[in-house]
């Protein structure tokens, strides 16, 4: 359950925002999860809820909005663009597990479907990102 560590990062970031802006309550956290990292939503949500409870009232009325971003790759060699679903079939369970921990490991196991180059960018949908954190004073 390494989802806990990532949820911890999100909550910690919100706590820092609250301290910096002297917020009494965090009302909203908007964030995105990249498809590539395959975060187990049930674990992640549980971890967020557990972690929020450890900060008194700060998160007592926080609305969390999470959207999942489809992963897009772009080859640096030939310019071809593709989606994770285009190459996914070639990845076994163990490989996906490795990418789940460190998304960059995709470069070990994924190749450009057109020219077979390992030199591609993960354009979007890599991992965890925070879009906004809002609160009240």
């Amino acid at each position: 359950m390494h989802e806990w560590a990532l949820a911890d990062a999100v909550i910690q970031t919100a706590v820092e925002v609250a301290q910096r802006e002297s917020l009494k309550k965090i009302t909203s956290i908007k964030m995105s999860l990249g498809e590539l990292q395959e975060i187990e939503r049930e674990f992640f949500d549980t971890a967020l809820n557990e972690l929020m409870k450890t900060h008194g009232d700060l998160f007592s009325k926080t609305k969390i909005n999470i959207k999942t971003i489809k992963t897009r790759f772009k080859c640096r060699a030939c310019g071809h663009q593709w989606k994770l679903s285009d190459t996914e079939k070639t990845l076994d369970e163990e490989t996906r597990e490795s990418i789940h921990f460190i998304p960059e490991v995709a470069h070990v196991f994924i190749r450009c479907p057109k020219c077979k180059s390992p030199d591609f960018d993960i354009v979007e949908g890599r991992g965890i990102g925070i879009d906004s954190i809002v609160g009240e004073k």
Partner: protein, 241 residues
């Protein structure tokens, strides 16, 4: 918005006494051997030690120490396995020794991910095996491992020290703590590195003689601990504790 991973890295590292980044700028001067054996030597002295192989494209500490058939466990993050008394983390657990082609920015991203999810024991020392070069990983290490002290390796050669010196001057300019310089692969005594240490106000931490028998011991802890190389590194460890 800020990368959320950066908010927890400090917390992940807070139970670590001293972080030592083994570097030198140059490739092939013994960073991996020194990091691996130094962690072993400190552990044998009774300290709690971690070893982090930060050379993501060419990890080699697992080869030096013969670490195989172990993996991190998952618990509120990942907990690196402890092998021969040293808690060991490497990207090799996820790449399975396959080629790992990464551009600089991806290396940085992967380093942040590893630091965000890795949960170390309470450690007296964390030894970081740095990749060669004065680039991405160096800056990431300086920024992400606040307070890390640099141990620089050089050989006795003026040519090699020329690069080590550039790294030394850069670290001094950035006010990064320098633990000192170790002279490795020594096969003659010219006093050059000792003099350079004096000249550049860096502590001289010891010397490691070239050990032609070391290759036979690679991957075997018992054989490693019998080598002259290990004894020399143990001497360096004495100067650190």
């Amino acid at each position: 918005m800020k990368d959320p991973r950066l908010s927890v890295i400090e917390k992940r590292l807070k139970n670590i006494g001293k972080i030592i980044a083994v570097s030198g700028g140059k490739g092939g001067i013994g960073k991996s051997v020194t990091s691996s054996l130094l962690s072993l030597a400190l552990s044998k002295k009774g300290y709690n030690v971690g070893l982090l192989d930060l050379d993501l494209t060419s990890p080699s500490d697992h080869v030096v120490l013969g670490i195989k058939d172990v993996a991190p466990t998952e618990k509120e993050g990942i907990i690196p396995p402890t092998v021969n008394g040293v808690q060991f983390m490497s990207v090799v657990f996820y790449t399975n020794e396959n080629p790992t082609p990464l551009r600089g920015e991806e290396v940085s991203n992967a380093i942040k991910e590893i630091l965000c999810i890795t949960r170390w024991n309470n450690l007296d020392f964390l030894i970081i095996d740095m990749p060669p070069g004065i680039g991405d990983e160096l800056f990431d290490t300086i920024e992400l491992f606040q307070g890390a002290e640099f141990l620089l390796l050089s050989t006795s050669s003026k040519i090699v020290f020329e690069t080590v010196k550039k790294l030394l001057l850069l670290l001094q300019e950035l006010n990064v703590p320098i633990l000192g310089i170790v002279e490795n692969m020594k096969h003659y005594d010219n006093g050059y590195i000792k003099n350079m240490c004096k000249k550049h106000h860096a502590p001289f931490l010891g010397e490691i003689w070239f050990d032609k028998n070391f290759e036979n011991a690679v991957g075997n802890i018992n054989k490693i601990m019998d080598t002259q190389l290990f004894k020399d590194i143990d001497g360096v460890a004495e100067n650190i504790v």
